[in-house]
């Protein structure tokens, strides 16, 4: 049984860890969350080992544990984010955009996926969390608003702002790939 569980963990550990890391943006905390997810999975391993939905179950548990962690350790996250959304987002340290030429060089050097990952991790939590829940976890706006206990309008605004930041970071490249100026404002 132990060997079976180790194999099970090997198959899913990256998925569970990625889910946690993209939500909490802290590798040590993500590892702790992944550990708790697998300990929970071990208790139900008899049901999970042959289940085709094991991956979905793990992902949901990882997501919920990450959100619980965020609400526990960043006290009253929703309240805080509502208070600071208008001011802090503007005050938040902007990602330093390189000049176009430098950006091209940077893009040429750095691995593109790594760049997207870094840009994602640098987003403020009020933007990163709803963005990840929407695009990577496949939640609807209404579900995100309910989970984070914030208004629907705020969720939409935060996600839009997050996309804008990512667009600015990757803007030049996106514009080229689109073959149009539609994403350049």
């Amino acid at each position: 049984m132990r060997e079976q569980f180790e194999t099970f963990m090997r198959n899913y550990q990256n998925m569970v860890y990625s889910t946690a890391l993209r939500l909490v943006a802290n590798s040590a905390e993500a590892e702790d969350i992944a550990q708790e997810v697998f300990l929970k999975a071990y208790e139900r391993f008899a049901d999970l080992k042959d289940s085709p939905t094991a991956g979905g179950w793990l992902r949901t548990v990882a997501r919920n544990m990450s959100l619980n962690h965020l609400s526990r350790y960043r006290l009253r996250w929703s309240f805080f984010s509502e208070l600071t959304s208008s001011s802090q987002d503007e005050d938040a340290p902007e990602i330093q955009f390189a000049a176009p030429q430098e950006l091209d060089e940077e893009l040429a050097r750095a691995d593109r996926k790594e760049l997207v990952e870094q840009a994602l991790q640098k987003l403020p939590p009020t933007q990163r969390i709803p963005l990840v829940l929407y695009h990577l976890e496949g939640l609807k706006y209404e579900e995100i608003a309910a989970k984070l206990n914030v208004s629907l309008g705020k969720v939409k605004t935060d996600i839009f702002r997050a996309r804008e930041v990512l667009r600015k970071k990757l803007g030049a490249r996106l514009g080229e790939e689109m073959g149009s100026e539609s994403l350049k404002r």
Partner: protein
Amino acid sequence: MNLDYEKTLEAEIDRELKTLPEISAPGTLISRVMARIELRAALPWFRRAWDTWPGPLQGVFLVAMLALFGGLCFGGWEASHTATFGLAVHKIGGWFSGFGALYSALNALAGAIFAMIKQINSAILIGFLFAAGLGYAIFLGLGTMYVRLAFAKR
């Protein structure tokens, strides 16, 4: 906001994020989890969660708890019909009689204050309430100012 722009942006960001590969978990994760599992397994059965106890022990425990609960209910019901129980209730009631006297004293005091207020001129009363409200507002304002100054970003 331009709806076409928003939709294009959403689609592009969605594509970017969905093609991100999974991040490799730290090499220590599996060993950490297995160590915790070993630690849990090493605990004696009575220190583990009830649902992980051996089946027969779960059954015995459940029956024992039901018997204890039933015994307590039955014992309590039987005791309530004895003469000793009535005496005990009377005695315990006596311990709290002091609270009744305190309530009566407070009630009389409140009545006296109310009667006194009724004697005071209404203009004086309004003035007093206004002064109290003003004082409260001043303290609230000063408190807010202090908190803002104390926690202001420098």
